[in-house]
């Protein structure tokens, strides 16, 4: 009888998962409030004081910011439901909680540009206004967070283990995996 139980490894223990390379290290970020906003983005940003949204490889800072993932769509980090409820808002936008849908990884170190070169085809000098791009062949939201050596990647939760396995195989990150 076909037994697929050994075909895939268990998911990493995301709380403790770490990959350490000589020039870059990757860890999972847990507990982030993630919301998807569609509609009149300018009014949403103004109402919640989020300033400008961040595009591909843009630099976000702090614990509360907005990332552009489509012409009329934002991924907002750090905005709690107590401040902005899910559903349609009269100002012309809709809000959906996405915290359980997306896994977040941080890659940090001077090698993040090399990692980007391996994972994407985006031109780092002209990445464009939209942070949704193919990373390791998966549609991810990719930008810098805090500084230009910390790359933050939001990936669909069901595909995160696949991305993690790919990262484990990268020469940049060879030298040991933790929490897997």
């Amino acid at each position: 009888m076909l037994d697929n139980s050994a075909r895939w490894r268990p998911e990493p223990d995301w709380e403790n998962a770490r990959l350490e390379g000589r020039t870059v290290a990757v860890r999972a970020v847990t507990g982030l409030a993630q919301r998807l906003v569609s509609g009149d983005l300018d009014r949403f940003l103004a109402r919640h004081g989020l300033g400008c949204d961040v595009g591909a490889l843009g630099l976000a800072s702090g614990g509360r910011y907005a990332v552009r993932v489509a012409r009329d769509r934002l991924l907002v980090v750090g905005l709690p439901a107590s401040e902005c409820a899910d559903g349609w808002h009269a100002d012309g936008y809709a809000v959906t909680t996405m915290g359980s849908a997306l896994r977040v990884l941080d890659a940090r170190g001077e090698g993040v540009r090399d990692l980007l070169a391996r994972a994407t085809t985006v031109d780092p000098d002209d990445p464009g206004p939209c942070a949704a791009l193919r990373f390791f062949g998966l549609t991810c939201t990719v930008y810098f967070h805090g500084d230009a050596q910390t790359l933050r990647i939001h990936v669909e939760r069901g595909l995160a283990a696949s991305l993690w396995e790919w990262l484990e195989c990268q020469p940049l990150l060879s030298g040991g995996a933790g929490g897997g």
Binding site: A56, V69, A70, R71, R73, T121, V122, D123, D126, G128, P129, C130, A132, L133, R134, T139
Partner: protein, 94 residues
């Protein structure tokens, strides 16, 4: 790798895009009044022009659907038009 111009994101790898068909292939209206010939033409008959072509494409990462002018001989992507910004107002979007 070939770069295609998404009207919103800018130049991106062709692997991020999905072909949506020839622009201007309108679905016949009229339900039961539509003949099987009209329906078959809508489904199967294509101009498949040699040279400049106008096509519908979708950028899979951001979801933008747009019209792109492309040359079917040398495969050069000439320019793209966002449907939401009027790129389909000439009747070429379906």
């Amino acid at each position: 790798m070939q770069l295609f111009p998404c009207p919103f994101c800018g130049p991106r790898s062709e692997s991020e895009f999905h072909f949506g068909g020839e622009a201007g292939n309108r679905r016949p209206e009229g339900f039961r009044a539509v003949t099987d010939g009209e329906w078959a033409a809508y489904l199967h008959e294509r101009d498949n022009r040699r040279g400049p072509a106008s096509e519908i494409w979708m950028h899979m990462t951001c979801g933008e659907v747009f019209r792109m002018e492309r040359d079917t001989v040398h495969h050069g992507a000439v320019r793209s038009f966002a449907l939401i910004e009027g790129g389909g107002d000439d009747g070429l979007a379906h």
